[in-house]
């Protein structure tokens, strides 16, 4: 089959690879209809996340059709239209029983790598380096899905393929942040990053009762999407002093909840951004915490912060004094998508959540390398490049 592979730092190519096979009784094979680039892929492409091998098949956000089922699969049959959570979780360990699915004890066959880096291994993830299991990704005609009864979800007829695509990763990651941040009705929430995850976190916050949601970015097309499809306020950090403006909009308090949906390759303005760039390029810090620092500084006293953007290692000049003295609560996570995907599909079916607008550029898989370049460089207003490995398909709707 054809697959889009990582071939080296900032290099990808479409190659012919073996078809996936059922390896465990709880597996299914999915014929991929739609699969999309994710901002977190850029960390892999750029070599910021260790553990990639040339030839690894990329892609972790996808939906498609079940074409083969293992002997122990109970909830899926051939022909089902499914969206698949990017994280691989067994559903049986203690963490899964607590609905902390991205922390699954059993979903990562290479546990020692993250155990060494972070003290504990987290679950596995499609195409997120050999640190998170070395699973082949979805930028391919077919993909193997382990623990399918847990991680694959039937798509309701009212939900289109394109809408369901983003219920795989962007939306449940946003929901993980909004829910994990402990939003209560009436809260003001500020979200750094207006990519797919930031937009979904903002919408999730609104549906969880936030009264005022403000999304921060620099790209006008993304901020326009936030206003048009999410219904939140926006701020352009190249125009405004973000901390002062957030204080202005909240009576001097600052947001009750701040959500960082940017991650280790943050952009910014001013000397701290230059400092982070230099230190990262010299490998004196692995991640650029530019947006993270601002979020901590902007948060109100006693407020909550959720780190949704992907960070891999260590950062410098981390304002722990602000966290301690302002009595902040800080949490973070990869997505616990198994917990949120059913309700997200229902929100889409009910017309309460828009996701299709994220797919600004739809193309065949053969154009994957160009799609990633467009996505990485934000060319032509690209928010997400979406690939069709099996050609254009039509949804029931």
């Amino acid at each position: 089959m054809k697959a889009l592979c990582w071939t080296g730092i900032n290099k990808t190519a479409v190659e012919t690879v073996d078809d996936p096979t059922i390896l465990n009784d709880r597996d299914i094979i999915v014929k991929v209809r739609l699969t999309t680039t994710c901002g977190s892929d850029l960390h892999l492409l750029g070599g910021y996340i260790p553990g990639m091998r040339a030839g690894d098949v990329l892609g972790h956000e996808f939906m498609g059709e079940v074409v083969e089922v293992g002997n122990a699969v109970r909830r899926h049959t051939i022909g089902d239209r499914v969206t698949v959570c990017s994280f691989i979780a067994c559903g049986q360990c203690w963490y899964c029983s607590q609905q902390l699915f991205s922390l699954c004890d059993n979903g990562n066959p290479n546990p020692a790598l993250t155990e060494g880096m972070w003290g504990s291994a987290i679950g596995g993830c499609f195409a997120y380096s050999h640190m998170l299991g070395g699973f082949a990704g979805s930028h391919a005609e077919y993909v193997r899905v382990p623990y399918a009864d847990q991680g694959a979800f039937a798509v309701p007829d009212e939900v289109s393929d394109m809408a369901a695509l983003f219920a795989s990763d962007a939306a449940p990651t946003g929901w993980t942040g909004a829910d994990g941040a402990g939003i209560t009705p009436g809260d003001t929430v500020a979200v750094w990053g207006a990519g797919g995850v930031g937009q979904m976190a903002a919408r999730g916050a609104m549906l969880m009762g936030a009264e005022q949601v403000i999304v921060i970015d620099r790209l006008p097309e993304r901020l326009q999407q936030v206003r048009q499809h999410i219904g939140a306020e926006t701020l352009d950090y190249t125009d405004d002093n973000i901390v002062a403006e957030l204080k202005e909009r909240t009576g001097g308090r600052g947001p009750d909840v701040v959500i960082e949906a940017v991650g280790m390759e943050a952009h910014g303005t001013g000397p701290s951004y230059l400092y982070d760039q230099v230190k990262q390029q010299l490998r004196l810090q692995s991640d650029r915490p530019t947006a993270l620092r601002e979020a901590i500084y902007a948060c109100r006293k006693g407020g909550n912060m959720f780190i949704l953007g992907v960070f891999g290692g260590v950062v410098d000049k981390f304002p722990v004094g602000a966290i301690m003295n302002k009595s902040m609560t800080v949490r973070g996570a990869q997505q616990h998508g198994h917990r949120y995907i059913p309700r997200i599909l229902q929100h889409i079916a009910n017309g309460e959540l828009s996701t299709e607008h994220l797919a600004t550029h739809v193309m065949p898989l053969d154009q994957g390398p160009q799609g990633y370049q467009m996505f990485k460089n934000k060319k032509d207003g690209c928010v997400r490049a979406v690939f069709q490995p099996n050609g254009a398909t039509s949804s029931p709707t």
Binding site: D18, N24, R53, G55
Partner: protein, 119 residues
């Protein structure tokens, strides 16, 4: 290793989980309830002293350190008891893998990963 099942499910009738039984006399095994409803704590310790120093480093690199067998067996036992299967990843589809030093390092690290860990 903590397993999300009661001790009676971890070692029914005092029978060792198969991956640990296969280690024979290499280890002594103990199971006890985990606090806070977290299931059971399954412990396996080498009967003989652990390798240390240069001998340990060489054994870990060559994959001959007995602790690697114990960790891998504990992880397999946990999966069999909790899920009913040991998750596999290979053979996974992949493109051309040129023999680069970085690629060899990742390959080596993943080969050792099931048997390495903090404990």
């Amino acid at each position: 290793m903590t397993i999300n099942r009661g001790p009676a499910d971890v070692m029914p009738e005092d029978q060792l989980p198969r991956p640990l039984a296969e280690l024979g006399d290499l280890v002594e095994v103990e199971v006890r309830p985990a606090p806070g409803g977290k299931g059971s704590e399954l412990r396996a310790r080498l009967r003989n002293p652990e390798p240390t120093g240069a001998v340990s480093a060489a054994a870990r690199l060559s994959g001959d350190d007995p602790r690697q067998r114990v960790r891998a067996a504990l992880r397999e036992a946990k999966q069999l008891i909790e899920v009913g299967e040991v998750l596999r990843v290979d053979p996974a589809p992949h493109g051309h893998r040129p023999p680069t030093p970085a690629g060899k390092l990742v390959e080596f690290a993943t080969e050792r990963a099931p048997g390495e860990g903090v404990l």
